[in-house]
Symmetry: C2
Subunit: 424 residues, 2 copies
């Protein structure tokens, strides 16, 4: 079974709970005693497990069909949530395989909580430097041509904590859990902008969210007219509330916060608005008292997700598998090292390798019981190669707080125990 995260939420189900019927009943009682909690908080309490695990499942009739499925009580991956309204929750990459992030495990990052929005009353206003200002209902938007595309989404702060404090017990969830990968469906933004008729001098677009902080970002019109989408669905189903239900902006390959959730307004203009989200936050100090602003592109990055902390491995063959992604198109190469970067091996890239989506890679390793340092290194179609920690900090200086993408990995000791290694 997949490894459990080293830092499970307090109320996660343990194996002991499962094997003791009484604990299951106690779990049900705990759910009943929490009527005042919101739906999102209740979700962190696992459903009560069936009280008896049969010795031979073929001798016991199973459970009936159901309107909505539930996970096996033996594997209930969960996000690590901060549990507050200005916080985040982290995708448990060490518990997952493949490339798609289940919608209820997609990372969260919001600054004023998740708003409750009635889609029948939600509208999108498009105005400013346009010939025909318009207000669109959700039904109006569904009349436009629709596309379905798989793209990753990554918070520009993904990896910050691991960079600042690379503790040995960090998991893939703690190191890079502000990354997720989703099949999105919606309307190409250029179709909407053609409908309202942008004026010739429109070069920037303001996107405003409908949450309590009304997060706003200035977006170059060139991106809006390129591959930007207005999406209402993720992985086939309507957007989840924490991902912008009923409507979010999707800017493939660009930092998460610019993909404005609960989207309610687009204003076309001739210069960026210099909102607090692009001045006091999300601007990166560099060397020489300079700064990067509007650093939207997410750089090529990779992470080995199996094996990983908190696993211990045994001798023999096993796949070294992980994820690679770049905001600048397709991943063209991932290399794996087991000797801390002295030598590298080309990993297999699993098809389909999609632009601005995560790519699963794997490489077969025969571990013979000696110390090893597992690293992965991604290259994208622009020729960009994922940097070392030294290369990254030399280029950007010590003041930057975002866009960490240095090579990291897992130290294996002779007993097979893994610990996090933050790169060199």
């Amino acid at each position: 079974m997949p490894p459990r995260d080293a830092n499970p939420p307090d109320r996660a189900l343990t194996r002991r709970d499962l094997l003791a019927g009484a604990a299951g009943v106690a779990g049900a009682a705990a759910i009943a005693s929490l009527p005042a909690l919101g739906a999102a908080q209740q979700a962190s309490v696992p459903a009560a497990p069936p009280p008896v695990v049969p010795a031979d499942p073929t001798k016991v009739v199973g459970t009936p069909t159901a309107a909505v499925g539930t996970r096996s009580p033996f594997v209930r991956p969960t996000r690590v949530p901060t549990g507050d309204i200005q916080g985040f929750s982290l995708t448990p990459h060490g518990d997952l395989t493949g490339t798609i992030t289940p919608a209820d495990l997609h990372f969260e990052r919001h600054h004023a909580g998740v708003p409750l929005i009635d889609p029948a009353r939600h509208t999108l206003t498009v105005h400013g430097k346009v010939a025909r200002p318009m207000v669109f209902s959700m039904d109006d938007l569904r009349r436009f041509p629709q596309v379905t595309r798989t793209y990753f989404l990554e918070c520009s702060g993904n990896g910050r904590a691991a960079f600042r404090d690379p503790k040995p017990d960090l998991t893939p969830q703690r190191v890079a859990g502000l990354l997720s990968n989703t099949e999105w469906t919606g309307v190409p933004l250029h179709a909407l902008l053609e409908e309202v008729g942008m004026t010739g001098d429109a070069t920037w677009m303001l996107a405003e969210g409908g949450d309590a902080c009304m997060l706003t970002r200035s977006i170059p019109v060139a991106k809006a007219m390129d591959d930007a989408l207005l999406v209402w669905a993720q992985n086939g189903e309507p957007l989840r509330p924490e991902n912008g239900f009923p409507l979010r902006l999707l800017l493939p390959g660009w930092e998460g916060n610019s993909n404005v959730k609960w989207l309610r307004r687009l204003e076309l203009g001739t210069a960026p608005w210099m909102t607090r989200w692009e001045t006091s936050k999300y601007t990166d100090p560099l060397l020489g008292q300079k700064a990067r602003q509007f650093s939207f592109d997410m750089d090529a990055k990779s992470m080995i997700t199996s094996p990983c902390v908190p696993q211990a491995i045994t001798k023999g063959w096993r796949p070294v598998s992980g994820l690679a992604w770049t905001g600048r198109g397709r991943i063209t190469r991932v290399e794996v090292s087991v000797d801390g970067g002295s030598s590298w091996h080309d990993a297999a890239l699993h098809e389909p390798v999609l632009s601005k989506a995560v790519t699963r890679f794997s490489w077969m390793w025969h571990w013979q019981g000696k110390s090893a340092l597992l690293l992965s290194r991604a290259t994208d179609e622009t020729g960009y190669v994922q940097p070392t920690r030294t290369e990254l900090t030399t280029a950007r200086g010590p003041g930057t707080d975002y866009h960490f993408n240095q090579i990291v990995g897992w130290q294996v000791d002779p007993s097979g125990q893994l610990t996090y290694h933050g790169g060199r």
Copy 2:
């Protein structure tokens, strides 16, 4: 918002519930009073909605981050379950977009309920015509090379009820809800068979499930050595219990029941075993007192999922969008007709078009308020064209009960109301 199914489960949340805070509290109490139900049944009771929908969501702080997300109370797509241990539940295609089926909405079909299996105790035995009979634990299987692939899964009985009784209020869920599409991860079966060393005379393989009916099917070795997988994950997460947790056989493009769930045994042999699942069931009577046995391949098929029953449409532009799939490779063409098949229009196929996975198609339609009959017709890479109802019944006769794939669609009356049309 997506259309609701015409036949929602009894306890589905209504809009009235949402707007009345008191109903939400009553819902929470109902969950607390059901400790004796299994987890799967509890899942059909929606979580209590937040009691108050704010008039302006930007004026109210939202809900905090959470370990696992929950759907918006405004859109909670559900399967239609038979609710028994020999039944099925249906994917709500009319409520979904894109191509991926959320794991908890993947269709179910089982014959003795969903077993509760401890993955730490589950094993796969491989024996019979092999040089080295072996028993594999789940951990053993994870040492083999792994692949991630997106494939549809379709019950061979998908569409039976709609074929027999084409009622006007049938939804996409009722017509073709025994189809789902998933990103699977596991080990190629050929790697396992090479490990045990099949003898030269092995031509068939028996696959046995670990549920209470121990469903068994005989599979040609040629398929096992081609693209068959042993999978433990769907859409990134561990398999759901109703989809075979912890291990299922995955035979891309082949009828659902042959993709044996809760897989515990593979036996290699020289002839099919003629189990009851391939003699009394899943064999198709044809004309002239003949029958098709081992009719594994699923034929090319398509279905328009938007617009659909129970929607009513209004005049103007809208996408006609749906799904197409074939067990014989890639979909190469989907045509849409709005005049009942007198004329056809090529629909756009959304990339990536993957082999033996569903393909999303769309075509922009300008409805002017007249009666229309919307149909879709798929063609696959073998040149096979989805047949009419007449062509299908002429070829197979009236006795067959499986593998219906005739052209079907939606009748639109001048008021815009849609009804199901079972084809001609």
